[in-house]
Symmetry: C2
Subunit: 607 residues, 2 copies
């Protein structure tokens, strides 16, 4: 149990396919703002990162889960080996791929960052929480900090001397961030005394970095209620002279998964001696500043799901090729027939193809989103292009976070089932993947919060133009394959799904306007699912179309034929089994089932 | 963490409703074969059992999970408190409710046994594995053993002196039981020397009982290949003089859940000194004898799911009533609005109603099955009635096992989401429920094995008469509510679902006959789901109809109104959101998607 061996598997072939064959990242490289990078460099970096992750992070995944984090004399200890991994990470420089040059980074595209996160999360989701949050904190300070703050904090956050955390949640304020009551008392010169308790703080304490910078949402005395009154502060754990800044670890949580990622209750200013700095120079900008980080953090959660689910799938695939059980279905009546690898059994293949389509579909969705971000940055003076790409970013973030995390967990559960009894054992990595991934649907805004963000904010942005552009893109693609015999049904299904999404979006407009507000939260999750399934059905079919073109030119014995053939079946499977459900979901939403709000509260149970 | 407090909750009101208002168990009581029992006695026993389970088993659930089982010097140790709970269980006599009087039991109906299992599993699924398997072993010996075996083993299995296990799986033979290679060498007088290795043996060793009787499937030298050649043996861990019978614990598994239930590798006859007895007097009857146990064990797995899921739901409900977060949706724009309990938020209510409908639906399905079993036993000379009820038992077992376990796990996952971040913590029982319940879809025949049993064996039994009778029952009920304004749509949906089930069953016939064998496993899981959803939709609507009748007679302030009102909403919610998907699933099956068998194996991934 918990031998320090690597179990992590990534599919670099598929990653390269999505980057360079589907989304043509190379078109953005070799010029501003990614002048330092070419396709070769990106591919080489990913190859090397994968090697490093398998060597340094993979072996610590099960051992970290078994050891967990411990709280001793007010300090949190991470599992054995984490300190060395942290040092190696920053020595090699994997966290600086997309950091600006002025902070010692390599100024790569966000897409490269996202893909590198897939690999680091997949190898060790718990470990990667520490550096990923640290990078997020650096991003916020870069974006909103004073020049002094940039100089004082960013280089040290990028070289691993400091780590960072996000402190939003309080005992009574989780999803309802706006009711946070942590107080900030101005001392002049941008300094404040902080007082309050924050909970669920990932990396709230650890023994990896020399110091920790907490980004704390707090309220000055005269500030208005709700999220609008919140300001953002940098609060170091230790002062520059090494003494305590009165940030105490109240306790550590014991969790279902990501056990090697510490989760702390932090008490700020119990001795009235906790001093923080306002981020930038303006109070009451905290929520929008934090949202800058949260947007990336939400994408990051989708990426976490992808990394873990992809490895779960590839481990299940390996097991299914290896494990023999039962005769072939063609000889099922013959007790003496030879035993075959379970991958020959139709239901095992069904589970594998289901996982493949979902993993590759989420990867495509995430990389599509990432490339939109890079295109915003590369748009230069082209305002129309920048608006279009930013609109798609805004629209896709809740899909990536919520559908990505829900689907990742499902994939892990299917992977358990593929292994049968072995899937329930700690001898294989998959039960841990399932436990680790369950949190992804909850943190950084529960998946229902994402759905409300989608229907309540994103659909209406720019007068609905973002959604219209999305639907237009989907329908334009569907038209390109509608006469192909292999894809005719799938194209019709995609088109119908896109129409169902648009029609349902109009319903939400009606509910907002027509006094049926309660239908909005009741239908929001299902709408997010419909739209995600439409997006993924589209992107998988786009992959299949690229695959067909490649197959038409490749020699019959070319080793790449298997890869492209796989694209055909993943897309057709997803179209037949998932995409086809979208219009039904629309029809169900249309029936306006209100039973959950109609049932009297006392009728749920009388015990 | 892991304080020894009870977290278990059961809904006795709903249990009594299903027993006495829906399925009229009382009609079978007070006469043979349940002459000792009346409605009052059953209700009182359940009340007392619930009290005992909360006091004795509930507090050991989290502590047992934290401590797990350990292997020391070849012996397995169970968690602290388990020995005392075992003693208390048999002292009070909770395992003897449905045991024949001649073995010291109370000869109650199977239905009472099933409901008592819900309570004992729900309070502590891991603990209950030991006595539940023990009772299963006693049943097999009672059914198939010689008079000497009955006298020697049954009383001690029923009073907790002995425990029992089922030893089927071998390292290379899990789902493929028929390829088991454990050998039995006759010594004369019904004794055999056993030699082989069995894995995944629940309760394979423990420190609760004085001795353990292993029921071992093994093959005599001349026996044919496959399941037909297997014989069943009773193999005690210790001989009657207390010396070892050469059954060694090879190792203990480390698992995702049910950690307090030991799972062992057992080596029989490593020193050629392991002696067993043939069960009964005939060789090569092992598989059908084991199936007798497995049928009950499969129902038992569905019951495990129900017990855990019901407590997950009730815990989530309690949390949702208690936890305040955010303003009411009616005041969502007002940052200063008072915070409300999260049960007031529509999406939380949606999750709760989803859990309620599924938990109460599975309970109805299980108790329906149990009552059919009792009606077989009570049929006396009425062969037609006995055949009908036995047919329904055969048909419903795979539904209870597979849909019950899959749905239970889903309910636990939804319960985690209802709690948000708290759901991921060990401070609440729900993350453990999710981990524990994941195994239910795998053991006692994976859920795909159940689906194959349904479509490959059960649909065709008695020339299809069992399914026809089931559909007839559903349609007859649907006709009774089709003109009721509240239930008109639901009745039409139920009727359409039943038609879709029947139509799909005919497709399977066609595939078996028409050389499309591969469609059978590809569509089997989905068909099992369709049929289960139809059954549960029916039973929930039946409950609602009973509820409406009660509501029509109860005073406006009668405390039971809330309970019956809940039945209306659970049924309508399930009809609108689950039952309505059944025809779509039939349509999807009808498209005969063959992508999983068409994709070349090398195309799944090229890594």
């Amino acid at each position: 149990m918990s031998q320090p061996i690597n179990r992590y598997k990534a599919d670099l072939r598929d990653i390269r396919f999505v980057l360079f064959e589907q989304f043509k990242l190379q078109d953005l490289l070799g010029k501003a703002p990614y002048a330092n990078w070419g396709q070769e460099e990106v591919a080489t970096v990913l190859e090397e990162l994968y090697g490093w992750a398998k060597e340094q992070l993979g072996p610590l995944n099960a051992t970290g889960d078994a050891a967990g984090c411990t709280l001793e004399a007010g300090k949190i200890k991470t599992p054995p080996g984490f300190k060395e991994a942290w040092k190696s990470l920053y020595d090699v420089g994997w966290r600086r791929l997309s950091v600006p040059e002025k902070f010692g980074g390599q100024e790569g595209p966000f897409t490269l960052h996202a893909v590198s996160e897939e690999i680091m999360c997949g190898a060790n989701a718990a470990f990667n929480m520490y550096p990923a949050l640290t990078q997020g904190v650096a991003d916020v300070i870069q974006e909103f900090g004073t020049p002094e703050q940039l100089a004082a904090y960013c280089p040290k956050l990028h070289d691993g001397t400091y780590a960072g955390t996000m402190c939003l949640t309080e005992p009574h304020a989780g999803s309802d961030v706006g009711s946070a009551t942590t107080k900030a008392f101005p001392m002049g010169g941008g300094k404040y005394k902080l007082k309050g308790t924050k909970i669920f703080i990932s990396g709230g304490d650890q023994d990896l970095s020399k110091n920790i910078l907490h980004l704390v949402l707090a309220r000055t005395e005269d500030a208005p209620a709700g999220t609008k009154g919140l300001s953002l502060f940098v609060v170091p754990r230790d002062r520059s002279d090494g003494t305590s800044n009165d940030v105490q670890v109240g306790s550590i949580e014991h969790k279902m998964g990501i056990k090697a990622s510490s989760t702390a209750v932090l008490n700020f200013g119990e001795n009235d001696n906790c001093i923080g700095e306002l981020v930038g120079t303006e109070e009451q900008k905290g929520m929008s500043q934090m949202f800058h980080l949260m947007n990336y953090a939400r994408i990051g959660v989708g990426v976490q799901g992808l990394g873990v689910a992809s490895s779960a799938y590839l481990n299940a695939l390996e097991y299914a090729k290896d494990r023999k059980q039962g005769p072939s279905i063609k000889q099922w009546k013959d007790a003496a027939a030879p035993r075959v690898p379970i991958i020959e059994h139709p239901d095992v293949r069904r589970m594998l193809l289901d996982m493949k389509a979902k993993v590759e579909g989420i990867r495509a969705l995430i990389i599509k989103l990432a490339v939109h971000i890079d295109k915003v940055n590369a748009a230069g003076g082209d305002k129309t292009a920048a608006e279009y790409h930013q609109g798609q970013v805004d629209l896709l973030v809740p899909l990536v976070k919520a559908y990505g995390s829900d689907t990742a967990f499902q994939v892990c559960v299917t992977a358990i089932q593929t292994l049968g009894g072995a899937g329930f054992l700690k001898d294989y990595p998959i039960e841990q993947y399932a436990r680790d991934s369950k949190i992804f649907s909850i943190y950084e805004g529960t998946n229902h919060i994402q759905a409300l963000d989608l229907v309540g904010r994103k659909l209406g942005q720019r007068g609905g133009a973002n959604l219209q552009a999305f639907i237009k893109d989907v329908q334009a693609f569907a038209a390109t394959i509608k006469d192909d015999a292999t894809y005719r049904d799938a194209a019709a299904g995609l088109s119908a799904a896109a129409e169902a999404v648009m029609g349902t979006a109009m319903r939400f407009l009606g509910w907002f306007g027509g006094g049926k507000m309660e239908m909005v939260p009741l239908a929001a999750n299902r709408f997010l699912e419909m739209m995600s399934e439409t997006a993924i059905g589209w992107l998988l079919l786009e992959q299949a179309a690229i695959g067909e073109k490649a197959l038409a030119t490749l020699a019959a014995d070319h080793p790449d034929r298997a890869f492209y053939t796989g694209k055909r079946y993943a897309a057709l499977f997803y179209a037949a089994n998932v995409l086809a459900t979208v219009p039904l979901k629309a029809a169900q939403i249309g029936k306006e089932d209100r039973t959950p709000v109609e049932i009297p509260t006392e009728a749920f149970a009388t015990v």
